[in-house]
Symmetry: C2
Subunit: 268 residues, 2 copies
């Protein structure tokens, strides 16, 4: 943004050939809750490098395209859905030389939180896309470098540096729902308290007390408000009150503190 310093290798005047050209992409970490578990959308690569490996959806940023716009466009192309209730924010940028063996690529990663989305529709770019349960993928550093292992012990290789990006994204999501109202981004427009609680439990991998959770939601302004009407019938048990999210993303006072030493949930 400033005049380049001499050691930057570019003289005053911005000779277009004087500074190194970069390719810029956006990569998406798209999360949703399915079956009470945190899932992420990955696409299988059809070409080298990393042919057959699973990668975050993404693509090049257009010459006159805003980063944020590019992220929304890629999301639409990969999932076939406009983001209506969900949330999209920038995660961080990855630009190590050699992270793509072919050329220098700067990748701006985005975090997407969405209500339960359908399976990717065939016939689009997302032919080879599918949802993965995050806790079916081993955490980086624990097993086999950056590769991951699924529940059956099969290796789930992630392309490029995407395992690290994914780990960062999970951390960010877990932190975000703690002190903002973003947990509601995982819910449909109307939701029950249990559904909201399942979001926290899925992202954090912890169990929460139902009664204390209710008390916290009720005393926390800006998170959720009850609406007239109850859960659609058909299920057993007493129908639950429906809630809707407040407009916009707000910081929570008090925050929903993650249990410090709660037991990890085991779900399979």
């Amino acid at each position: 943004m400033n005049d380049p310093s001499p050691s930057s290798g570019a003289p005053e005047g911005y000779d277009p050939s004087a500074f190194p050209p970069f390719a810029v992409t956006v990569d998406l970490t798209i999360f949703t809750i399915r079956d009470n578990r945190l899932h992420v959308l990955l696409v299988q690569r059809g070409a080298d490098p990393h042919k057959g490996a699973w990668a975050l959806p993404g693509g090049f940023v257009g010459a006159e395209e805003d980063l944020h716009t590019a992220a929304h466009r890629e999301l639409r192309e990969e999932t076939g859905l406009e983001l209506v209730d969900g949330h999209l924010e920038q995660l961080r940028t990855y630009g190590a030389p050699g992270r793509d063996p072919r050329m220098r690529v700067i990748s701006v990663a985005y975090l997407v939180l969405a209500p339960d989305l359908p399976d990717p529709t065939p016939g689009t770019d997302a032919d080879r896309a599918r949802w993965w349960a995050v806790d079916d993928l081993a955490l980086p550093g624990l097993v086999g470098g950056t590769d991951r292992v699924d529940a059956d012990g099969h290796r789930v290789p992630l392309a490029f540096d995407h395992a690290g990006i994914l780990a960062d994204a999970v951390d960010r999501a877990a932190a975000k729902i703690e002190y903002t109202s973003l947990a509601t981004a995982f819910c449909q427009r109307l939701f029950t308290l249990v559904e909201l609680q399942r979001v926290y439990e899925a992202v954090w991998g912890t169990a929460l007390d139902r009664r204390n959770f209710r008390r916290w939601v009720e005393q926390t302004v800006g998170l959720a408000v009850p609406v007239e009407g109850h859960m659609r019938k058909g299920a057993v048990g007493r129908p639950a009150t429906l809630y809707r999210a407040r407009d916009g993303v707000v910081e929570l006072h008090p925050p929903m503190l993650r249990p410090t030493n709660a037991r990890r949930l085991r779900r399979h």
Copy 2:
């Protein structure tokens, strides 16, 4: 990172001429505490666009240079100092088309927290650099668009979108010292409790109770440990115990909660 989708404008195979080229820069928001106030380092632009306006230090990323390395290099070139005790982390990336009128530039912003640094040394790239007290600059949206006004009412125009970047950086710094041990990054290797407390007060603009602050530091593991010896003599009053930071940046349990409705400090 993935094979570009057709609508991205780049075919399979990465024809280098097929995707749009970007210039990539790093911009630094370098903060320190001077005279118990949060300061940021800005450089005055010597050429158009925005000639004479104040800008964040920064420059182009080299063709084979890591983003993190580029940020460290720019810091060294602009301040003449290696970062020994301070902290450097990525803030976020700004890439709106038109944010630089000359060309498409993607700027990866970094947040730097450092102990009181000397004035920029003349004779380097930092000829026109100086420290600004952050609260002498009006917050964006309050006064005159993205320009800022200093304590005397003079306009302090910031170049490009740097006013917004700076506001984001202040928010990040305020949040970071709340739940991590990063407040110590503003202190010298040895520091007193009062000096550490002044960091929180300067960044947050609030007053804290001296006794409760001491209790919190003592019961918070991973923040600071007392060392043998006391404050160098020469000052009035009882000499204070010296502390040093624990190694590395850790999350704090419990966090240092920002006062919700504390009075804002007025210092001038």
